[in-house]
């Protein structure tokens, strides 16, 4: 699974980082870094939750 961020929509509120810090990191300059290019299976449900709960609908996942 891969994760795609729409940087125009993201407002760096770090909701995703709160749900899955293994994968999401909000940087000092308010940009979002995806730490893992390929997301391991055991994080799948957390990722799905992050995508669902991102307040700005800025995240998408692709298989």
């Amino acid at each position: 699974m891969k994760i795609i961020v729409d940087t125009d929509l993201c407002e760096a509120n770090a909701v995703c980082m709160g749900i899955c810090p293994e994968v999401f990191r909000v940087e000092e300059d308010d940009t979002l870094t995806i730490l893992l290019q390929e997301v391991p299976e055991n994080l799948r449900s957390q990722i799905e939750q992050a995508v669902r709960l991102c307040p700005r609908q800025a995240l998408r996942s692709e298989n």
Binding site: A12, N13, D30, R52, L53, R56, Q57
Partner: protein, 412 residues
């Protein structure tokens, strides 16, 4: 199966007397999570009690609108609350596409990075407040600490000098706790509200003028000099922003701090653990906010028919999103009624979700985290010194008085 009395879910007096209706919500989540009520004297509404349903609704801001009203208010002949809600426009009662342009004005100021510059203000304010209590004694935790800390922070970022804080505290109490007799200034609600708006208006008009002539690096200057589609933001909208920073930011954070401290008084082991492990602060503060859920509900209005869990919601129907119920949803949280300082992940909805996700979420976590770290690290003993009292409100039903007897170590 007992029948649910809808007044238990919405009547401000019930909140004052019994607190949050967790028993009723547990039953609703289990039996009828999407449930229509028509209580006498109140507008009819759908009670939404499941986490998944609140997310589904909140993610469709073009179907479920904030504009027609954000909270459930009693039907009144004078329609006062609705008038008051519509006088000043704020991001919270705007809908897309307009909402986005206004939200953008302030969202950058509230990002984690931007707020770093407030770290020392937030922790120094916390230290000073706890110092002010002295080594031991009795106090009302709400008026001395829970109310003061967020107010001082918000006042400072909005450019209010320390000497004006008591005035601002009175205004915010009257505006938000307006169902509660203790905070009403005149018998005649209408008159009281009008007076309050006038005072607020003239005060912040002056602050805005000052920030236009000499902008500074603060939120007041962001509001004063904001432009929407190239034009300076209108007066009503500018005032709306000033108002929402206080109303949305003060009593809510006070609720988190007051409710959280009460929970820690009842759980001395957790308090000691926090003292031993200060690195818990971010997750612990967030867990306190889930556990307390200071903002009990928000309302959405359907602008078309919609089917949810097989129930037919009609255009124009009101939906009450009970965040405090969603945050105890057994399908999402393990041991939902327990306070687990290291709970992770913690996908709670205390700050809402979607389009209107709380802009002040980081500030609120930071403010409450700092005060709890200060309190727990210095606390030698604490107990209740009287009966805690809640605000009579179905919106932010936090404690208004929490008498405590305490003993603190000196600051490090």
């Amino acid at each position: 199966m007992t029948e649910i009395d809808p007044l238990r879910l919405i009547d401000p007096q019930c909140y004052a007397e019994y607190g949050y209706p967790h028993e009723a919500w547990t039953q609703l989540r289990r039996e009828t999570p999407v449930r229509f009520f028509e209580p006498p004297g109140w507008p009819s509404f759908w009670a939404i009690t499941k986490h998944a349903d609140i997310v589904e609704i909140s993610k469709q801001p073009d179907v479920f609108l904030n504009g027609p009203g954000m909270t459930l208010v009693r039907e009144r002949p004078d329609d006062l609350d609705r008038q008051a809600q519509q006088q000043i426009r704020t991001v919270i009662n705007m809908d897309p596409p307009e909402h986005r342009a206004y939200r953008k004005i302030a969202s950058a100021y509230f990002s984690p990075r931007a707020l770093q510059s407030l770290d020392s203000l937030v922790s120094e304010t916390a230290t000073k407040l706890v110092d002010g209590l002295g080594a031991q004694g009795e106090c009302d935790f709400i008026t001395e600490i829970a109310s003061q800390h967020p107010l001082k922070i918000i006042a400072r970022i909005l450019g209010v000098p320390e000497s004006d804080e008591p005035f601002i505290l009175r205004l915010t109490n009257e505006l938000f706790g307006s169902e509660d007799a203790e905070f009403q200034r005149s018998e005649d609600r209408m008159e009281g509200m009008r007076e309050m708006f006038t005072e607020f208006w003239s005060y912040f008009t002056r602050v805005m003028q000052e920030r236009r002539s000499s902008p500074q690096d603060d939120l007041a200057s962001v509001f004063a000099n904001a432009r929407v589609e190239g034009e300076p933001m209108g007066d009503l909208e500018t005032m709306g922003f000033c108002l929402i920073a206080f109303t949305a930011g003060h009593e809510t954070t006070r609720g988190a701090i007051g409710g959280g401290f009460r929970a820690l008084i009842e759980r001395p082991e957790e308090s000691k653990r926090w003292a031993r492990e200060p690195d818990l602060t971010p997750s612990a503060a967030d867990e306190i906010i889930r556990f307390v859920t200071p903002v009990n509900h928000m309302v959405r209005t359907a602008n078309r028919d919609y089917e949810l869990r097989g129930e037919k919601i009609r255009q124009g129907d009101r939906l009450v999103l009970f965040y405090a119920s969603a945050n105890r949803d057994e399908e999402v949280f393990e041991a939902p009624s327990e306070l687990l300082l290291d709970r992770r992940p913690n996908p709670h909805l205390a700050f809402g979700v979607g389009e209107h996700f709380c802009m002040g979420a980081h500030l609120a976590r930071k403010t409450s985290g700092a005060i709890f770290r200060e309190l727990t690290s210095r606390l030698e003993s604490v107990e209740l010194a009287g009966t805690p009292e809640r605000v009579a409100s179905n919106l932010v039903p936090g404690f208004k008085h929490l008498p405590i007897r305490y003993r603190f170590a000196p600051s490090r």
